[in-house]
Amino acid sequence: MARLSSSIITSSADFRRNYSASKARIADFEARQRAARFDRPARDVERLAKQGKLLPRQRLEALLDPGTPFLELSSLAANMAYDGESPGASSITGIGVVSGREVMLHADDSSIKGGAWYPHTIKKIVRCLDIALENHLPVVHLCDSAGGFLPLQSALFPDKHMAGRIFRNQSLLSQQGIKQLALVFGHCTAGGAYIPALSDYAVIVRGTGAVFLAGPPLVKAATGEIVTVDDLGGCDLHTQVSGSCDYPAATEQEAIAIGREIVAQWDRPAKWPAQRDAVEAPYYDPDELHGIIPDDIKRGFDMREVIARLVDGSRFHEYQPAYGTTLVCGYANLWGYKIGILANNGVLFNDSALKGAHFIELCNQNNTPLVFLQNITGYMVGREYEARGITKDGAKMIMAQSCSRVPKFTVMCHGSFGAGNYGMCGRAYDARFLFAWPNHQIGVMGGEQAARTLAEVKMRQLERNSGTVDQAVVDAVYQETLKAYQEQLSAYYSTSELWDDGIINPVDTRNALGVAISASLNAPLPDNRYGVFRF
């Protein structure tokens, strides 16, 4: 495969403006991440220290193999919810290596309101277990939670994808032979008690770990029984009497060491043999991505420049280089893995949609994972394109993509608007992992388009009802819409709502995809099968 040749001039004013803007965005992103990870009320940190507890990230670091990556997911979940009361949605999830095995990790963050589960916490845990199910990843739960955040019970308890889904997913993981280990560092109360109970292995720390359906206050209220935490659901009760936990540990360190040894016993089911070649670093410096991403959402850029900074040796085999050129398709290797890339270089036309659908089918035939690099304003609109069947051609792409059996990965590189999001494997299409860059925006349409559209609708409505148009009212609609969209279109809003698996620094994309692709190969490939294509 030939190396892509970059036409970027790093000394150009354009590049340098983009670069400094992107670096500023990254600084902002990292500041938000730092705050979400480490800004905690002093009294909470002191309370944990007094209990002899490690902070959740210290537990994770001790559990992970040294010198290995940890792909944290949704580090800024809930960053725009609850007035910032639940940074990171009060939990940490991600993929790491424990005792040489790729595992999904789920840790309650007891440094935030005792690790209570907010609605977004549950969404994050459910998503993490969905990933474990889809990719056959064993799970290690690091439990330390006070239970559901009761004031918001209606938003976390009753619906299909709420708290119950955690335990449903745990059960299905077990059904599929995917292992789970629970390390009980703190409380597992109410529903949370089922996490160790539904795990294959459970280790509990003496003195601080406790598992019960109802804590002492609730027991007293319910039956009048007065009982201590330890007697009700402590380490010795569960490891010696009830059998709800398996291994007692004197300290958190011991629990972690036991946990690591448990994972070391696990078999390593064969991965499906994806094509893999020797790894080569990208020829072009990934840091240059900062100068390639435009500072303006409306400005386009050549996605090949991005590809050149993600893939092995910056080598790319482009498929149909002369046809449907607004969608760049082709093969490359990433951390050695053969992948098929679909990348937007403009609006999708009939030919680009057909090319995309065809390339997706080729990758399914060839057992090649798909990577979608989104920067899409949608499928082309207008009479001419409707007449050419842009809708049915877009549908073909959606059909091919939806029915893909190979793992799919999506990176939101810039904009994701309208139906283009569907064809390019948006959140609804079960990409195994979906990451977003901090500059990314998503919506059914752009903010200005939406404001214009709604102002237009308002003007017609005013005309119809009163015959006159108060321009101030129309302008107000325009401005309100624009403001609301700008907030909701932002990557921080998306990630807050868990519409992605996390914002990542563009230069981290290669590593994130490497870990994600490796994880995806744990699940067997289903047969190749599609629905009915409309021709």
Partner: protein, 165 residues
Amino acid sequence: MPSILTLDGAPAELDVTARRPLLTLQVDGQAYTVEELPADEDGARTLLINGVPYTVWRTREGDRVHVKLDDAYYSVGYQEAVVAAAQGGNAGNEIRADMPGMVVEVMASLEAEVNAGDALLVIESMKMQITIAAPRAGVVESLHVERNGSFQKGALLLSLRALAE
């Protein structure tokens, strides 16, 4: 969690910091690249540490790793992480028997303050009397043996606790 090894009575922390392009280990905060060549028929292998070759024979026996590095022998203490973690809370407090034997004399008394190096017990094993000295200053918290009593390898002989501040 780094692995804790002991050599000549002093602990050392070892951990992996990288695996590619070369295995890199950190020993007490200092990084070293390591290449292990396969062992020859004799069991000797060449270890390149920061590119310097060493000839190594080694074997594990109990909680010691016996190493012959170039022309000298070393005995390095190693415990599996679970074992080390289980004792981590009170390392240095427990004095255990290195080998089975019998207690000849008990010099330590309960609640007595001792300095590092103070004789605590004299034990006899394999026809030799060995004085067990305090590994550090502390207070004798418990005595698990008495004069003329026998013990097995690994038995807890005596526990110390830190001196009050």
